[in-house]
């Protein structure tokens, strides 16, 4: 089985799905000749040509708005927005149209666009290049929001998105684009949305997380193991919909929960998870649900970036807190 990093796994999935479905078109800024600024679409233009792999003018609302027209006409557009911080010109098209077309037409139209975008911090980037805006999309009814944590998952989730009947926001954590490789099967497989993955089993505390923070949480869990604290790590894989069942059954078992995300805390995914646990497992809790998140500030530039984002130590402190409560 080939070993791939996240970039390679997504690239391979695009190749595979485009071959199977000639309705798929890839469009965005620099996705063609350049192969994308992170090289995720590398080689596609050579194989599928300029009709299906399109270097667009520099206009996000143009890209996404036009993709809506393509989608209702019957194509399957995969739009790349170069960085998560640059989706905003298209936010109106996403919120006011993509998310609502099925509802407004009582199901006569669907809008199964896949919007891919590099996501998150930790790469010492410029302003607007290190954001974690998932709440802004997860909060919008009608959208599915996927954030993979590994090459294997990325392939299965993207393949699912490329066969889905509804729009998908697919955020690719740039911190782990090339951080590690793992075995990714060549054959096609899908991972359904709304199904979390137990990354590792444990009995003292549940760490709920997703994206690049999964690896950071694993690092913390490894260190905690030396202190005889056993962590169960739940990777949400999709932050909308959220897999409530897996969360609740894990928390019922451990009685303690720490949520980790690189998005700001206020109204973040952690708040939603905490609310669901309160509603469904309050009496199983031995401690309050603790959140380890970025702070409620504009993502700082590199000199201050490390203070801002969660790290293994901050997670360990939170776990110690719920253990000692």
């Amino acid at each position: 089985m080939p070993k791939m990093n996240l970039v390679e796994a997504i690239n391979a999935t695009l190749f595979q799905e485009m071959e199977l479905n000639d309705k798929i078109v890839v469009m965005g800024e620099d996705v063609g000749v350049d192969g994308g600024v992170f090289r995720v679409t590398e080689g596609l233009i050579k194989k599928f040509g300029e009709q299906r792999v399109i270097d667009t003018p520099l206009a996000e609302s143009g890209i996404i708005g036009a993709a809506i027209g393509m989608a209702i006409y019957g194509l399957k557009p995969v739009t790349e927005i170069q960085f998560e911080g640059f989706i905003f010109p298209a936010y109106e098209q996403i919120v006011s149209h993509i998310a609502r077309i099925r509802t407004r037409s009582h199901g006569s139209y669907k809008c199964p666009i896949v919007l891919r975008s590099p996501y998150g911090g930790g790469v010492r980037a410029l302003e607007h290049h290190s954001e974690a805006p998932e709440t802004l999309y997860a909060h919008v009814p009608g959208l599915t929001v996927v954030i993979p944590s590994s090459p294997y998952d990325a392939k299965g989730l993207l393949s699912n998105a490329l066969q889905a009947e509804d729009p998908v926001i697919f955020f690719e954590p740039k911190r782990i684009y090339r951080a590690f490789k793992e075995e990714v099967p060549e054959e096609r497989y899908t991972i359904p949305f709304g199904q979390a993955k137990i990354v590792q089993e444990g009995h003292d505390v549940t760490i709920i997380t997703y994206g690049a923070m999964v690896r950071v949480s694993m690092e913390a869990a490894e260190l905690l193991k030396e202190k005889n604290i056993s962590c169960e790590i739940v990777d949400l894989r999709t932050v909308s919909p959220i897999d409530t069942e897996t969360i609740i059954s894990s928390v019922r078992k451990t009685g303690r929960c720490v949520v980790v995300h690189e998005a700001p805390r206020n109204l973040g995914i952690g708040a939603e998870i905490s609310a669901r646990i309160n509603e469904k497992a309050l009496l199983d809790l031995k401690a309050p649900v603790k959140r380890v998140t970025a702070y409620d500030v504009v993502t700082p530039l590199p000199k201050l970036e490390d203070f801002h984002f969660p790290n293994a130590e901050k997670i360990i402190n939170a776990v110690n807190y719920v253990m000692g409560f």
């Binding site: 192969g35 290049h129 702070y295 409620d296 500030v297 201050l304």
Partner: protein, 359 residues
């Protein structure tokens, strides 16, 4: 009834110094020597700053850097036509513009070293911040100009943006507002032929960018953006016009991005080195130098002294920037609101507590 033509537009192209340094007598704005020298020296310093920044990035001493090599005339020729009170709205590539407008080099390095501190605006300067989200700043410049108009100030604004930026909706909304409200705004388009890997011809089917102004009801001109005097001439006219209350102008400066888009980019992936070589012959700094030498304003000795002075100025700026403490954890929270709300106080305490126990 015969069919009439209801609109016809024209766009002028201006060049003052040709690529071999010959100036057109009639078009030469005949600027005073001290202004010419200040412009030339700033162009030389900009190029040296640019070169140094590129090297620092390769050594891991600054983060991603967008070079402006080749665009010195487009930047300095235009910014030099601005009065002190006029406002400067840059994109992210206007290092020359910042230098002209009095930003100390050390602060530019501080920003590139990854600290917001470097973006503090020098007291009393009408400079705005770097704007990375493409084309967004065009609207800010229109709004500021509009405010000046409402308040009866004789102040204009000038906004920089690239060829790629003209594809964004914000650019068109800015142009439309400027036209409708006749704001004293100069739209300074640096058409450097590329938006990362996308060539200018893929951004617009129009022959020129300048002609887009006509659709919004005002004038657009195209200039040789590697000819500092042509850029100056067109900008000065546009600024004077703005000050007279006669509304906005779009200037398309034809230039070329000689280097990578940023240090994270590799242009060999998408463009021909023959094209880059061709543009080398139109080098804006060399061309201006020939002009100055022919007028008896410049010589090898002055060049050497300028380079020496700039070298030590740049070294000193780097030294100062690198010796500053830029990782004060409280700064994460200090500037989000005018008064820190309780939840941020709590989060700041949480971070400080964590850091205390860490060491």
């Amino acid at each position: 009834m015969p069919i009439e033509t209801v609109f016809e537009g024209k766009v002028k192209y201006i060049q003052v110094i040709d690529k071999d340094g010959n100036a057109d007598e009639k078009l030469d704005p005949k600027l005073p020597k001290d202004l010419l020298l200040r412009m030339y020296i700033t162009m030389v310093v900009t190029r040296m700053f640019d070169d140094k920044a590129l090297k620092l990035q390769r050594q891991g001493r600054i983060y991603t850097y967008p070079p402006c090599l080749g665009q010195e005339a487009a930047q300095i020729g235009s910014i030099a036509a601005l009065n002190e009170e006029d406002w400067f709205f840059p994109s992210y590539r206007e290092h020359g513009g910042y230098l002209w407008r009095g930003t100390e080099m050390k602060w530019m390095f501080v920003y590139l070293m990854g600290s917001e501190l470097g973006m503090k605006i020098p007291e009393g300067k009408h400079n705005f911040l770097v704007s990375i989200p493409i084309a967004t700043q065009t609207l800010h410049a229109v709004g500021a100009a509009w405010a000046a108009k409402i308040l009866n100030h004789k102040v204009a604004t000038m906004v920089y943006f690239g060829d790629g930026a003209t594809s964004e909706g914000d650019f068109h909304e800015a142009m439309n507002f400027a036209g409708v409200f006749k704001t004293p705004t100069v739209f300074l388009n640096q058409n450097n032929q590329w938006a990362i890997s996308v060539p200018r011809k893929k951004q617009t089917a129009a022959k020129t960018i300048a002609q887009k102004a006509l659709a919004y009801g005002f004038e657009g001109v195209q200039v040789d953006g590697n000819d500092v005097l042509a850029v100056y001439r067109a900008t000065k006219e546009a600024i004077d016009k703005a000050h007279r209350g006669e509304g906005p102008t779009l200037i398309e400066a034809l230039t070329y991005r000689m280097s990578h888009h940023t240090t994270a980019d590799d242009w060999t992936k998408y463009r021909d080195s023959a094209e880059v070589e061709q543009w080398k012959e139109r080098d804006p700094v060399k061309r201006f130098r020939i002009y100055l030498e022919r007028n008896g304003y410049w010589n090898e000795d002055l060049e050497k002294k300028t380079v020496e002075r700039a070298t030590s100025e740049i070294e000193k700026a780097i030294e100062e920037a690198e010796s500053m403490k830029l990782d004060n954890p409280e700064d994460v929270f200090m500037y989000t609101y005018s008064k820190m709300p309780p939840h941020l106080v709590e989060q700041m305490n949480e971070l400080m507590e964590y850091l205390k126990n860490k060491s």
